[in-house]
């Protein structure tokens, strides 16, 4: 089985950056929308990673 390199990179980045991102997301309660910005960025990254790859095999 071969793992997607983009996925491995994402896992590595998550491990490295998560503490900092978490602090940024929840540092100021007024900016309640920050987790959604992070979520949107993750979704954009997944979309970008998959836009050229078609894993259909059926």
């Amino acid at each position: 089985m071969y793992l997607d390199r983009g996925l491995l990179l994402a896992v590595a980045l998550t491990v490295i950056l998560f503490p900092g991102i978490e602090r940024w997301m929840f540092a100021d309660p007024v900016h309640w929308y920050r987790p959604f910005i992070v979520g949107a960025a993750v979704i954009a990254g997944v979309y970008w990673n998959q836009r050229r790859r078609d894993f259909d095999e059926l």
Partner: protein, 993 residues
Amino acid sequence: MSFSPDQVLLAIVAYLSVLFLVGYFGDRGAIPRRVVEHPATYVLSLGVIGGGMASNGVFTLAALYGHHYLLYYLGIALMFLLAVLLLRPLLRLCRVHQLASLADLLAFRFRSPWVGAAVTLAMCATLLPLLALQIRTVADSIHHLAGGGLDLLPGGGPRDGLALLFCVIITVFTILFGTRNAANPNRNPGLVAAIAFESLVKLGALTLLMAVAVGEVFDGFDGLERWLLAHHASLGGDAPLPAGAARLLLLLFFAGAVCMPHVFHMAFAENSDSRHLRAASWGLPLYLLLLALPVLPVTWGAVAAGSTFPASFAGLGLGAALGAPWVSGVAFVAGLSAASAVIVVATLALANMCLNYLVLPNRLLRAAGDSGLYRQLKWLRRSLITALILGGYAFFAFLGNGQSLPELGFLAFSGTLQFLPAVIATPYWPRANRIGLLAGLALGLAIWFLALVLPVLSNNTAGIIASHSDDWALRCTLALLANCAAFIVGSLLTRRSREETVAAEICSMDSGSRPHRRTLPVNAAADFVPALARGLGEDTARTEVDRALRELRFDRGESRPYALRHLRSRIEANLSGMLGPALALEIVDRCLPYGKSYPGEAGDFTLLEQRLEKAAGRFTGLAADLDYLRRHYRQTLEALPVGLCSLGVDGEVLLWNQSLADLTGIPAGEAIGARWTALPGAWQAVFAEALEAEPNSLLKRELPGSGPAAPRWITLHCSAPTEDADRLLLVEDITDYQLLQDEVLHNERLASIGRLAAGVAHEIGNPITGIACLAQNLAASCDPAEVRETADDILTQTGRISRIVESLVNFSHLGSGAGDTRVEPCNLADCVDEAISLLSLDRDARPVSFVNDCPRDTLVLADCQRLLQVFINLLGNARDASADGAAVTVSAATGESGPVEVHVDDCGHGIAPELLPRVFEPFFTTKDPGKGTGLGLPLVYSILEDMGGSVRIESPGPTAGASGTRVTLALRAACYDPAFTGLAGESAGAAAG
């Protein structure tokens, strides 16, 4: 509130009617196909996962834990963001094998209907809290919206009556939705469209509520921020969720995204195109992100507006606090749409599971011959849907009002978490077996029931979620760990059955399934109907066979073994979608059992090749390299300038390259997968001859042309047969070569005639001179006796001329067309005499003495004219190599049953040993330049081969002295029929041929 219960119930019926119409039009094609099958529709249909929990329950989580409510969305989103790890292999399995539920998947993987039954029962038990959650969402919403209830049941509360009415309505709609297509209950485009519509309604309603909260309550986002600064505690930051509990919640929702039956159904059973999962891997997280966005503003808006409703009904409370009934109506629609979608899809999925694993295994065998199978299935499914919804209602009524919506959701999600180990093991742990699975599931669910459900049922907890303790998380973790431990230990300590091993290979990500070629008890697609009728009834069998043929684009006359195997698999997959994999396997194995396997586990290469072709461009790393190599070698074989065919030990055609397709006119698509015995007549006969010929021998055959097409010449070279290896057959079109060879032969003959011209002139000149003298004598003679004598002399001389001319004419006409060898009995000595006679005409040639020692009664099977050419070439060579006056002897020896061996011996200078291997090469000659063409011996070789004989050269010869050469011809013998004046046996047969 300004709504009465009747109005609300009417609104429910109206909304569900709209939902039903969307589904109805989706099924009927009134909604364009491109819309129904669009990836966005599929993604939105997956929004079914956000039921009452998403529309109402998360408001409680948000009120209690602030941002931690996002764990609900994050867990589900993670499963889809990482779709490549689990969802993709599961989708592959479900699509290929028509698996529509988790019970189907696990029963297929662990090859046991008991596993399917156990999973179904467990799933029903774990889903009861979820159904109760949906019912409570709607019932409580009606209660809050209408401010009252209906006392329908003696001893029940007003909400119970509302809930019962809602259950009756939703049961009717679920039956209408899900039981129209009995033949394939798992593909329901209308349902997909309706659930996608429901997701849009839910998202729109929540977004509208957010707009109301932000605009009406806070006067914009600035006002919201100011309110947040003033009400910091309302964010839930002062009561954080314990870290262990947060991780467990994430895992619960992560597992729910694949283990919940309604999500599984929409994600896998209703998937019309596997590429849609790619869109869902980012599309569903995006949808969940948008769905999660309004939760905090609406929660805070309800608090700020002074709502008195429970947190789960923040939307309703917001409307009530603002005095805006339409806002409450919007919130109600959000909850109603979410809850009804979950109930419809979950009960449909559960009903199919119950039908396949709890009902049919006991009923179907008795109803096997019944042609009304589809009708029975429909009514059974309707009954099960009713029973399941009523079961959910009973659980709801039993619980009372002691639990919050998130707690009910937690119970359901923690129950379905127990299926996660088995789901992960399906593609990733081939060693897992059914004993381990059942042990783990039993232990995990027992702990789940005792430690989590029982306290809730006995109302022994004052809100396990709201307690801010991680005690419940520890209990849930304990259940999962016990499940995993029992699963692993049970699997390691017990053995897998052979069926489980095969299924594990099929399901495993690391070891691809290798389909095998096996025999079937049927010879054509039409034979499937009577065979399957024994298990399904004739009508159902015919319907299923026709459906599979249509899907595979085969016709009823299809008889290729590969196609029949493919058809059997498709029928099993289709039945699996209708009856479940365990029952489908049992029926198909009983009605169409596989016969023997061939030695060496012969793979179904045709199917394997198709799978690899479809996976083109998807491989990475070493797999991509191997696929690149495979394609390269495949192209090499396809581009070979000679026809190549590979035959399995069972005679099935495994490879048929382009050259062979061009040569035979049979496309690869028709030949591959068929047996060679099914090839058209002429080719079947030629293949049979090649396969029975001596290993590694070269067979040369003429194929008659069809219609105006000219006949063709081919050679066939077949590899040696072995017990378990495929046989390779090389087929080469040598028509051009044959035509060229005949042309060369003709030219060579003409050249011989040219060389003989001087001798001919001399031979004819002498008798003509004699005739002239005799004619002069005749003119002067008056004696009748002398005249008669002179006339006789003239006739003798003209007879001599006629023989010379006849020999020349025969020789020149010999083999004037390509491929006209006619093997017939031929007197050997006469043929040698003729050759000697012709060669004697050459006055310029070296004077040698030709001796014909061949027995006068020896017959050989040959083309006389071509055999004459052979002797002319051989004797001519012998003469050229001999000294003046030397003898060239032709002799023959006949064995008892073997061929006739003809020896041409000379006493010449012989041939150097290093040159012997090359003497049959075209244009190779040992003669001086200009004296030989180098085509004589190659022609001899070719002619002998055409006649089924052979030629060999020894130098020095065994009897011709130290320097001579012996050429030995092996020719098939013919014999006189002692009972008839003609020829018998082999000769007559050969002549006819």
